[in-house]
Symmetry: C2
Subunit: 327 residues, 2 copies
């Protein structure tokens, strides 16, 4: 018996964003069918005075996919000074029909691909059919995955705004390299799409049809009064209590969906609007998997604000690792 291992360089070769999007979609639908297993989260700190910590997220997907496994995630902030990565993640996947290992996969690139797919699936399912402008808030690791996945599902997008409110030169450099990186890293031809750094956030928000947020912010960055009717938000950055990227007022009257509602209520972008009462639990539309399966209503007018709150499901890592291992 031999365990297959895929490192980041291997993953870049074998993982196709289109296939990951299909995998993520299948997990969302499996969740709506009650086929996702989530085992208890294990979390601990190393008390090394640098905030080092680890968690193990494990679970499985029943039904046709039928896999289980876990992701070990290590965060060692002190590594930065040593020139080694401070976030280390490894995924092990097993076949749930016979317990045989499918393999071990480096988690960083997988997390990027599946999270980009998540944001894009929400955008594609909920944004106006005629959406032409995408704005990405946050120009870090996650941004390129979000753009690649969204352009895969919505190739007709004409303009992509890149905003980095804490580092303007970063946004400019990111925008300048975007077309070339999409081609090289994802095989996406974006000749007809314009990529622009945001200099005036209010202006860009006011123009955007789709806004995807991928910052670690703990203060709302996007104000409600800047947002035009019909805008769709995919909120990706908030995955921990207290994180917040958009003005809670944006939730008032909006159609709100989550990837895993109970988790979104606890730690997602909707956490604070719910606590503030800007929106009530009873007003939440439901989960993205139900929407994809046509079990709940989506956008019904060009004026509605729609919000997809994605906090991450460990089964997304497993399906993406499986896709890579089978490729």
């Amino acid at each position: 018996m031999s365990i297959r291992v895929l490192e980041t360089e291997d993953l870049k070769k074998v993982l196709k964003i289109g296939e990951v999007i299909e995998g993520v979609r299948s997990v969302y639908e499996a969740k709506a069918d009650g086929e996702i297993i989530v085992w208890p989260l294990i979390y601990d700190e190393f008390n090394d005075g640098k905030g080092s910590n680890m968690d193990i997220r494990s679970g499985g997907i029943k039904g046709d996919i039928n896999i289980h496994g876990m992701k070990m995630f290590n965060e060692f902030p002190g590594n930065h000074e040593l020139g080694i990565p401070s976030h280390l993640a490894y995924i092990m996947v097993f076949d749930s029909t016979n317990g045989m290992p499918l393999g071990v996969v480096d988690g960083a690139y997988v997390t990027g691909m599946r999270t980009g797919s998540a944001g894009a699936i929400g955008a594609d399912a909920l944004a106006r059919k005629d959406a032409k402008t995408l704005m990405i808030l946050g120009a870090g690791q996650q941004a390129m995955f979000q753009i690649a996945a969204t352009l895969t599902l919505r190739p007709e997008i004409e303009k992509v705004w890149i905003a980095d409110p804490v580092n303007q030169p970063n946004a400019e450099q990111f925008a300048a390299n975007c077309r070339e990186r999409l081609s090289k890293e994802f095989g996406i031809n974006a000749e007809n799409t314009e990529f622009k750094p945001v200099t005036d956030l209010k202006e860009a928000v006011g123009e955007a049809d789709i806004i995807i947020t991928v910052t670690p912010s703990r203060e709302p960055v996007i104000k409600a009064e800047w947002v035009k009717p019909g805008t769709h938000f995919s909120c990706i950055g908030s995955d921990m209590e207290g994180k917040e990227e958009i003005d809670p007022e944006i939730f008032r009257g909006a159609k709100v969906y989550g990837d895993d509602l109970s988790q979104c209520i606890r730690v997602g972008e909707m956490e604070i609007p719910l606590k503030k009462g800007t929106i009530r639990k009873e007003e939440l539309m439901g989960e993205i998997g139900q929407l994809l399966k046509g079990e709940i209503e989506g956008r019904t007018s060009d004026e509605e604000i729609t919000i997809f709150d994605a906090t991450g499901i460990s089964a997304l890592d497993l399906i993406t690792a499986k896709i890579a291992l089978e490729a």
Copy 2:
């Protein structure tokens, strides 16, 4: 970054029983020093009608060793019919100073090596200094590891009895091959040791100075009246509620040690004697690590019965995997 993977064939080449014994000893001592981390056990069943199940045991070792990780164990009884292994285990180990992966290791051989070392460490620490006869109850996967580790620590043993009460031909074949396998698989020269299959269990028990039990029995196999004064028992097989290999009466007046007392009380060989009242919790001597560190008393006469109850500690898998990965 590249993850190292060791399969069973690699492990057979790099793992030396003497080094594993030292690793197991260091974990027992670390446990006495409060340096073992045990994270919550995750267990689930697959409801496939065949009893398939999995568990994840995770934790770490602080101090100088400073590693953490997990073992994923899959049990798929139905695999037997398909000609593939029904027990599959994989261990991932990480450096707790920086979160970097040390590697992934197949768990089956590691489990054998560390469990053999455990039984032998108990025997070496507690058996009479002049012990000459070892009896192994159970001639399955575990037996050879127990013999190899015990002969490593006690090379002066003259006779090894092999008992398989449910399969006599197996005991005979095992005994016939023992010397050659020890040489080939463990590099142990046992020219001066005699290996004999047990035909009369009562006789063999009465002669044995050290008895190591490695069966999955749920009924006592060894009767108290067969046991001579001064015998040492390493009870390895009982690791689950209801399992029992030796007569609870043997515990009466014996000096009893565990690898992890709270676990032994719940699921070890001592579970049933404690429930029956043959021994009381207050009479338990303590943990093997305390004994190895000289913090508690061991054998003080040649007439005492000593019992080491080993239920397994997940840190033993981690240290053994680390030794293999560094070799």
